[in-house]
C-alpha cells in the first residue's frame, strides 16, 4: 500500500496545484464583499493538497494506516482492466451501433470474461437483455435510446 499511498498523494497534489493555478486566472469579483469564483476551489484545493502532503509524510515515516497491506497486480485486476476496455468499447459503439446490437455483443463478451461457458444460455440472456431493456426504457419510459443500425426496424 506504500506505493499506492504515494501515488494517491502525488496525484492529489498535482490536481490541487492545477486547480489553484487555474482558479488564479478567474476574473476578479465584481462585488467588493464577494470573495469571487476562485475562492471556494482554491480553498478546497489547498485543503486537499495539505491532506495529500500529510499522507505522503505519514507513509514515508511508516505511520499511515494499512501500510502492511500489499497491492499486487493479480489476474483478477488484469481481468478488470480488460473489463474496462470492453466497457469503453460499449460506450464508443453506443450511438453508431445502436443500443440493442451494442448491448447484445457486450453482454455476451462480458459473460465470456466472467468465465461463463454455457454459450446457448449466454446468447439468450444477451439477446433478451438488449431487447427487454430497450422495450422498457424506449417504449414504456419514453427514453430516446439510439437505434443505430436497426433504425427503421425499432
Amino acid at each position: 500500500m506504500k506505493k499506492a499511498n504515494l501515488a494517491v498523494g502525488v496525484i492529489g497534489i498535482l490536481l490541487s496545484a492545477y486547480v489553484i493555478i487555474t482558479a488564479a486566472g478567474f476574473p476578479e469579483n465584481r462585488s467588493a464583499v464577494d470573495p469571487g469564483a476562485a475562492y471556494f476551489p482554491t480553498l478546497m484545493a489547498a485543503f486537499m493538497g495539505a491532506m495529500c502532503i500529510l499522507l505522503i509524510v505519514l507513509t514515508l515515516t511508516g505511520k499511515a494506516a494499512g501500510l502492511q497491506e500489499v497491492l499486487t497486480i493479480t489476474p483478477g485486476i488484469k481481468r478488470a482492466a480488460v473489463g474496462v476496455l470492453i466497457f469503453v468499447a460499449y460506450c464508443f459503439l453506443f450511438k453508431p451501433l445502436g443500443f440493442v446490437l451494442d448491448t447484445i455483443w457486450f453482454s455476451f463478451t462480458c459473460m465470456l470474461l466472467l468465465q461463463n461457458r454455457k454459450y446457448a444460455k449466454m446468447a439468450i440472456v444477451s439477446l433478451l437483455t438488449g431487447i427487454v431493456i430497450y422495450m422498457i426504457f424506449a417504449n414504456l419510459l419514453g427514453a430516446k435510446l439510439p437505434a443505430g443500425l436497426l433504425r427503421g426496424l425499432l
Binding site: P41, A45, A65, K95, N116, L141, A143
Partner: protein, 497 residues
Amino acid sequence: MTNISLFFSSMASLITDPKCLILIFVSVAAGIVVGALPGLTATMGVALMVPFTYSMDMEYGLPMLMGIYCSAVYGGSISAILLNTPGTPAAAATVLDGYTMAKKGQAGRALSMSVLASTIGGLIGVIVMIVAAPAMSKIALKFTSAEFAVIALFGLSVIVSISGESLLKGFISAGLGLILCCIGLDPMDGYPRFTFGSMNLFSGLELVPVLIGLFAVSECLVSIETIEHTANVESKLERLISPLADIKRCLWHIVKSGILGTFIGCIPGAGSDIACFVAYGEAKRSSRHSDEFGKGCIEGVAAPESANNAVGGGAMIPMLSLGVPGDPVTAVLIGALMIQGLTPGPLLYRDHQDVVYLIFAAMFVANIFMFLVATAGLPVFTKVISIDKNTLVPIIFVLCMVGSFSLRNNVFDVWTTLAFGVIGYLMQKVKLPIAPILLALILGPMAEENLRRMLVANDGSYMPLTSPICLVLFALSIFMVVSSLKKQKKSKSTGKE
C-alpha cells in the same frame, strides 16, 4: 391541516391508486432481491432504480424509490441467515444467530422473524420521522445562509464516520468531491469554472451519472475481478410465519431496537450497520436468554433486523428537514429528488408539503408491502440467492448506462458514468472511501453558495457564523468528529489486542 390528517390524506390517495400500489409491489420485490444478493447493496439498488423514475410523475416515482429503499435492507437478512454472508452490511449482526438457527434446521423460523422484526422496526422509524421531521424543519426555516453554510459543514463531519480505516483518506476523498463540485458555472456570478469549454459541463457534473458510476459500475468491475461462484442453498423452509411464542418473546426487543435504530439513523454517518450491532448488544444485555445469544437465539435475529430497518426512517429526518444526507442511500435519494426539481431541506416542507407527506405515506405502505411480499414470497426469495451473479454483471452495467443516458438523452452522461465507475474501482483498490465524494458533491455547493451569500449580505463579515445556532452546530460537528475519532481509536486498540 394537521400533520396527521395530511399523512392520512396522502395515504388514502396512495392506496386508492392501483398503479401506485403495483409500482410499490414491484420495487419492494426488486429491493428484496437486490438486498438478498451478496455484493448488491441498498445504495446500488436505489441508484439503479432512479433512472426508471425519470419520466414518471412524482406520485409514482417517489413511492417506487421508497419501496426499494425500505426492502433492500431487509433483503440482506436472507443471505445472512441462509449463506452466513450478509447481503448488505446492515445484516452483519443477523448472521450471528440467524445462520446458527438455519444450521439447526430453523431457517424458516429465523426468516419469518426477520420479516416481522424488519416490518415493525421500519414502521417505528416512519412514525418517528412523521413526528420529528416537520418539527425539525420548522426550526430550520428560521435559518439564514450562515446557518446553512454551517449545516453543510456539519454534514461533512459525517465523513469521519464513513471513512473506514483511514480518516486521512476520507478527507482526501471529500477534498476530491469538493473540487469536483466546483465544475460548472459559478453560483454567484455565472463564470464557467473547469468546464474545458464543454457545454455539457456548464451545469456541473450531473449527480446521478456520478453516483451510478461510483456505486454500481465500480461494483461491476469488482465482480469481474473477483468472480464469485454462486452457492447452492438448501432452501426448504419449515415455516413462513413466526409462532406466537416467538413474537411474545421478541416483541419488546423489536420495539426497543426499532426506537434505538431510528435515533441512530438520525445521526448522520451512523448507518444501519452500527445500529444492528448496538441493538444486538442491547438485546443480549437485557435478555433473559442472554447465554443463548450466538448459539441460535431468536432475539438475536429480531433485534438487529428491527434496528437496521428503523434506520431508514431516522436517516430521512435530517435529509428531509435539513437537506443533509444521513448515509450514502439518502445521498442517492437527494439526487433522485433533485431530478424531480425538488431540493430537500426546510423549503421542501414549506413549498411542497404534498411531496413530503407522499414520501411518509409511501414509506409506511412500503413497509406493509414488504411484510406481505416477503412472507408470501419467502420460498422464491430464498432461491434468488442462487442466481448466477456472473450473468447479472452485464445486465447491471447495461442498466447503469441506459439509466445515465436517459437522464438527458446525452452520451456525455454515459461517459461520465464510466469514468466515475473506473475512478470508484481504483479508489477501492487504494483504499480511498467512495461515500465522502458523494457527500461532498451534495454539500459542497450548499456550503459555497450560502457562505458567499452570507458574506455579500453582511458586507464581507464572518460574524453571522457566531450566532447561537451556528455555535451549536459547530459544537455538534466537533462532538461528532471527536466521538467518531475516539471510537475509531478504541476499535483499533481492541483489534490490536
